[in-house]
């Protein structure tokens, strides 16, 4: 096993995304960028395919594909509905 595949990241999920993952916090295998992570997640949870969500890296919503450093805080955010 290479060092890279052993790395894991913590993923926070909210709203309807947390319902699909059945969890608000999940340990997940590290992916090098947000597009790869999104594809991995949809592979594991096909219900995510049609659900709108953005990926925040260290509390910043990613615009386009964004690299993920090991140790980053990842959050899956469906459309906000506060207020």
């Amino acid at each position: 096993m290479s060092e890279q595949t052993e790395k894991s990241i913590q993923i926070l999920a909210f709203g309807m995304i947390a319902e699909v993952l059945s969890s608000q916090e999940t340990s997940w295998k590290w992916a090098s960028d947000t597009d790869t992570l999104r594809a991995d997640l949809i592979g594991a949870f096909p219900k995510l395919t049609n659900l709108p969500f953005v990926i925040a890296v260290d509390m910043e919503v990613s615009q386009g594909n964004q690299p993920i450093s090991p140790g980053a805080t990842i959050a899956l955010l469906p459309p906000y509905s506060g207020g």
Binding site: F14, G15, D58, A75, P78, P79, Y80, S81, G82, G83
Partner: protein
């Protein structure tokens, strides 16, 4: 991320009208203030497929929400001559008719308070990671979508 630790905005359960009154009273010693503008978001008993919303369950990505609210605050203070600003949002269950959002802006003259209040509420809706799940009388729920 800014350096100051953002102050919490979260209240568990509904925001009480008495709390709003007390917040107003605290500003009577600030005699440079001429105008207070207040927004209160109240849970509507909307009807969907024949069922009434009984309450909304709110959750948030709290750390990111506080950071975003902190940026909204700083932006409003930079753009407008404000005396003070207070923002509170509920977490957990808030029943129909109860208040889940309280934004309170004060300034020497009214235009700054009006403009800032509206901008702040719009920014909260767009930028702050909070989610509301509308729960119906029969226990079913649906994730709220902001207009």
């Amino acid at each position: 991320m800014s350096e100051k630790k953002p102050k919490s905005i979260f209240v568990h359960g509904p925001i009480s009208p008495v709390f709003v009154g007390e917040s107003i009273a605290k500003h009577q010693s600030k005699t440079d203030i001429g105008a207070h503008a207040i927004f209160l978001g109240q849970v509507r008993a909307d009807v969907k497929d024949g069922k009434h919303v009984s309450h909304i369950d709110y959750t948030a990505y709290e750390e990111m929400a506080l950071e975003k609210v902190h940026l909204i605050r700083e932006g409003a203070f930079d753009r407008h001559p404000l005396s003070c600003m207070h923002i509170y949002h509920s977490l957990g269950s808030v029943g129909a008719g109860e208040i889940s959002l309280f934004v309170f802006v004060s300034s020497p003259h009214r235009n700054a308070a009006f403009t800032a209040l509206r901008e702040i509420v719009d920014e909260i809706k767009v930028d702050v990671p909070i989610w509301g799940k509308e729960i119906f009388e029969d226990g079913d729920g649906t994730w709220k979508v902001n207009q």
